[in-house]
Each structure stands twice: as C-alpha cells, then as structure tokens.
C-alpha cells in the first residue's frame, strides 16, 4: 500500500501544479451553478438535515471515512494473508 500512497501523492502534486490558477472547487458546486443558469426559478426543496459546523470538522469526518475504509481493507487483507500463511505451514 506504500506504493499506492506515493502514487496518489505524486499524482495530486502533478495535477495541481499543472493546472492554472484555478479555484479547485467541487464539481457538484459547479453543477449547482449550472442548474441555476438553466432553471433560474428552481429553489432546492430540501436542505441537509445536519451540516458539519466548520471546514475543519468536515475534513475530520472525511478523514474518518477514509480511516474506516482503510481499516477494513488492511485488516481483512492482512488477516486472510496470515491465515493462508498459517495453513501453509
């Protein structure tokens, strides 16, 4: 997985430095703007039940999501490798 992490790091560096002075906002924000242009009268009829109170908390919860996923991948890949190793001996 070390490879994977360095690949991602390199790719994100390359991608960011290659771009111009862009704002790097989310594509979904751009889509919301496009909707407002296509249908200026449209009002969103529902708003999020709960929003992270700040950008910091949002990034905390995103990191938590990655951590949960990475734990599941690492734990079960490691476990099945260990089982395989044990049954070979």
């Amino acid at each position: 997985m070390k490879n994977a992490i360095s690949v991602l790091f390199l790719i994100s560096c390359l991608l960011i430095t290659n771009g111009n002075a862009e704002s790097w906002t989310g594509a979904d924000e751009k889509a919301e703007e496009a909707i407002k242009q296509i249908s200026p009268d449209y009002e969103p009829w529902f708003s999020p039940v709960w929003e992270p109170p700040s950008g910091e908390i949002e990034s905390l919860l995103f990191s938590l999501q990655s951590a949960i996923g990475a734990f599941a991948v690492g734990y079960f890949v490691g476990k099945s490798r260990a089982n395989k190793h044990a049954s070979n001996n």
Binding site: M1, N3, A4, V7, L8, I11, S12, L15, I16, N18, G19, N20, E22, S23, W24, T25, G26, A27, D28, E29, K30, A31, E32, A34, I35, I38, S39, Y42, P44, W45, F46, S47, P48, V49, W50, E51, P52, E58, L61, F62, S63, Q65, S66, I68, G69, A70, F71, A72, V73, Y75, F76, V77, K79, S80, R81, K84
Partner: protein, 210 residues
C-alpha cells in the same frame, strides 16, 4: 446537491435503486452464508469504496475537484447489485454526516454510483475476463465504472433540468462531471490495479468462477 433534484425525479431514482439495493443486500447475506471468507472480501470491497469516495481529487481538465467512486473492486468480485448496497451505505454516511450528496438525492446517487456505473464496468469485466491480466482488468473495470457513474449523473441532471433542449443540458452537465472525471477515474483505476494483487490470492475462486 441536497434538494436539487425535483421530487418527481428523486422518487423515480429511488424506485430504480431500491430494488437493486435490496437484492444486493440479500445477495451479500447469502454470499456470507455460503462462504465465511466472503465476509472479508465484502469488507475489503466496501472499505475500498469508503476510502476512494472520501478523496476529493483535483482534476486539471476543468480545475475542479471530484470524488472517485471506488466501486471497481466490488463490481469485479460481486457484480452491480451488491455494489449498489455497499455504495448506499457510503452515500448515507456522506449525506448524514457531511451534507454531501443528500438524502433526497440518495436514490439517484445510488442508481448512478452503485448500479448503472458498476453495471457498465461489469459488462466490460465479462467481456475482457481471461483476455487481459488481472491488474489490467481491475484498472479498466474501475475506470469504466467510475467514469460512467458521472456520465449517468450528467444525464440524471439533464433529465430533471432539460432547459431549452435535453441534449444541450446533458452536454453542459457532462462538461462539468464527465470531463472532470477523466483523470480522477484514471487515478482510481491505478488504485484498483494496486489493490487487486493484494486480494487476488484470497479471491481467486470468486474471480475465476464469476
């Protein structure tokens, strides 16, 4: 995007994705009962979706950021319905805790990310299986499932907001989503190819039988 899909379309996409999701949940349960090792594989496939969809990757094509979907591995191992079930879990997490995606758009997002995108990936998987290496296969399936997800998202938005012409609207949304997604999908493909060799020895029977 909470509330951005009109009620009629929101309902329509729930009607599309709920059966896929429910069938996927039943199949996942059955897979675990059949072979307890499938529990580990389901966790790895779901974990991969969790990790990948939490990353917002910058795309130099449009200068904006977008999420990979992470559904390629699950598509290869279990097919689109189980992927719909696993994706719905991630989408619910993001809708409730991150105000990302949304509850009203959960049906549409599950349909695109969990079902129709993976279905495209799965068709490619069936076509290429045994013809290319496992790594290449993982790369291609992940890229197709990821990219097609955003093509579907664009079409979903164009159906709800056709403006003067559906085609024009679809091209506008594809210019945002499908274009941004090209490099993001390639990054996801590289990740899937790296992960597949870690799980290939434990999942050989699933991948060769499927």
């Amino acid at each position: 995007m909470e509330g951005f899909l009109p009620p009629l379309w929101a309902t329509f996409w729930f009607a599309v994705s709920l059966p896929a999701m429910a069938y996927g949940a039943v199949r996942a349960k059955k897979l675990i009962n059949e072979n307890p090792r499938n529990r580990a594989l389901l966790a790895v496939a779901g974990g991969f979706i969790f990790v990948l969809s939490s990353l917002k990757i910058p795309s130099p094509v449009t200068g904006s950021c977008s999420h990979p979907t992470g559904t390629g591995i699950s598509t290869m191992l279990f097919g689109p319905s189980v992927t719909a079930f696993l994706s719905a879990i991630v989408l619910l997490y993001q809708a409730l805790l991150l105000a990302h995606g949304g509850i009203t758009t959960l049906g549409a997002n599950t349909a695109s990310m969990g079902f129709i995108g993976p279905l495209a990936g799965w068709i490619v998987y069936r076509g290429l299986k045994d013809r290319v290496s496992m790594r290449m296969l993982a790369f291609v399936v992940a890229v197709v499932a990821d990219w097609f997800t955003y093509v579907v998202t664009s079409i979903q938005l164009a159906l709800a907001f056709p403006g003067v012409s559906f085609i024009k609207s679809a091209l506008t949304f594809m210019g945002i989503f499908a274009l941004t997604q090209i490099p993001v999908a390639v990054v996801e493909g590289i990740f899937a190819a790296l992960l597949i060799s870690y799980i290939v020895q434990t999942s050989e029977d699933r991948l060769t039988r499927g």
